[in-house]
Symmetry: C2
Subunit: 245 residues, 2 copies
């Protein structure tokens, strides 16, 4: 077998993305890419048939990325502990690849037991579906999730019925959904009790309508074009206690 050029190519492309994200100071995403790229590079190194010079070169490259990844990890930890971590992501108009999994997924873990969502627009059908999708992601990614708190605007219509159905469904997964209404609310943020706070400029409703009901992107939000919005990510128990009502 003659090496694994595909693993090498894949590693190169993921690591290139890691460096781009690193330069853009999108550190948590960058770290995920460094780790993934390094794993692919290890695969390439394990493959047979590489000549020794090439192996030495790959190993050197791996070492430099590894030290950058370790630096980033420490940097994130330090900023978190100092309560001043901040990362900014610009979602471009009509860009794709921004499902809730991509935006939030890397912050969801065993430490999350409570999620607080403030979003004035969880009112119409497609907006309740946004909350359903987010809930599915939370249930699938946070094994110790106990409760979700939603603060949103009140709408006449069937908002209440839809949210009640979601509430009953979450209860079957042992997660309590509490909903409160405020029509003066304008903040949009998601607070996880592992310390991460994600502020999406437009709230959950940043996807464009689907092109059609049987078109790619109708089910998979990673293929759905987005409206332009900014995501700010913070980590701080201090920020959280201030912004709590």
């Amino acid at each position: 077998m003659a090496g694994d050029p595909v693993a090498e190519k894949a590693a190169a492309s993921v690591l290139k993305r890691a460096v781009e994200l690193d330069t853009a100071r999108r550190f948590t995403e960058s770290l995920v890419c460094y780790q993934e790229g390094l794993q692919l590079l290890m695969e390439a190194l394990k493959a047979n048939g590489q000549d020794e010079n090439r192996r030495v070169e790959l190993r050197k490259r791996a070492e430099s990325y590894m030290s950058r990844a370790e630096f980033l990890k420490k940097h994130i930890e330090n900023e978190k502990e100092a309560g001043k971590y901040h990362e900014k992501i610009e979602i471009g108009a009509n860009s794709i690849g921004h499902s809730y999994q991509k935006v939030l997924g890397r912050f969801l873990d065993e430490y999350v037991t409570k999620v607080e969502i403030e979003d004035p627009y969880v009112r119409s059908t497609h907006q309740v579906y946004n909350l359903l999708r987010l809930s599915e992601l939370l249930v699938g990614s946070c094994p110790n999730l106990k409760s979700i708190f939603l603060l949103t605007g009140r709408e006449s219509g069937n908002q209440q019925d839809m949210l009640d159905e979601l509430k009953q469904s979450l209860a079957k997964h042992k997660v309590v959904l509490n909903v409160e209404y405020s029509n003066t609310l304008h903040d949009r943020e998601i607070r996880l009790d592992n310390g991460w706070i994600i502020k999406i400029g437009r709230g959950l409703d940043y996807f464009r309508p689907p092109e059609g009901k049987f078109s790619l992107g109708y089910c998979d939000y990673d293929l759905r074009p987005c409206h332009a919005t900014t995501v700010d990510i913070f980590h701080s128990s201090k920020v959280r206690s201030v912004s709590n009502k």
Copy 2:
């Protein structure tokens, strides 16, 4: 910082699953779990604050899993080359965690350019949605995908319109969808031109109807309970050439 007991616990649980899958001869899935578990174990090892005895123990454990993973990898390669790879997965009635991503995802890669689907039941609305979801997964996971071929049963009604919309949408992603109809078809299989063949007993339609339109599992198929079915996985260019029409 006192070690990382969470990474260690997570590693233990993923590696336990790897061994279970290994015992059940579900080798491709087992390999994914070994690799993931080993990465978590490395995380645990990297964390500070572990005493030296514990580190030696963890390192020993890692080595034994690593050698099993490498054995499996070689075993799968050998069986593939000999044209006799076969793996069987039983999906239990009402069990969850069997989205197309989970069943097929690990076989999708850069080598897939053509996907052939034989399934008599891509007819009604929810069945065309199954195909849409599978198409979204293929487009997202196979960067070199050029064409999808579907052989299914013909239905009066709007089957043709739905498939036409999907066809146009795939064309925008530079993927050609060709559909042929046969009402004598009874086989259900998905053939990838990287050599993998996945036969799902019930075809794509193995999910139970959702509990409600705003219930968990409506959007995320990993949370949707399934009907009982068997998945057989083969790898062989020989099998493929025989089963081609």
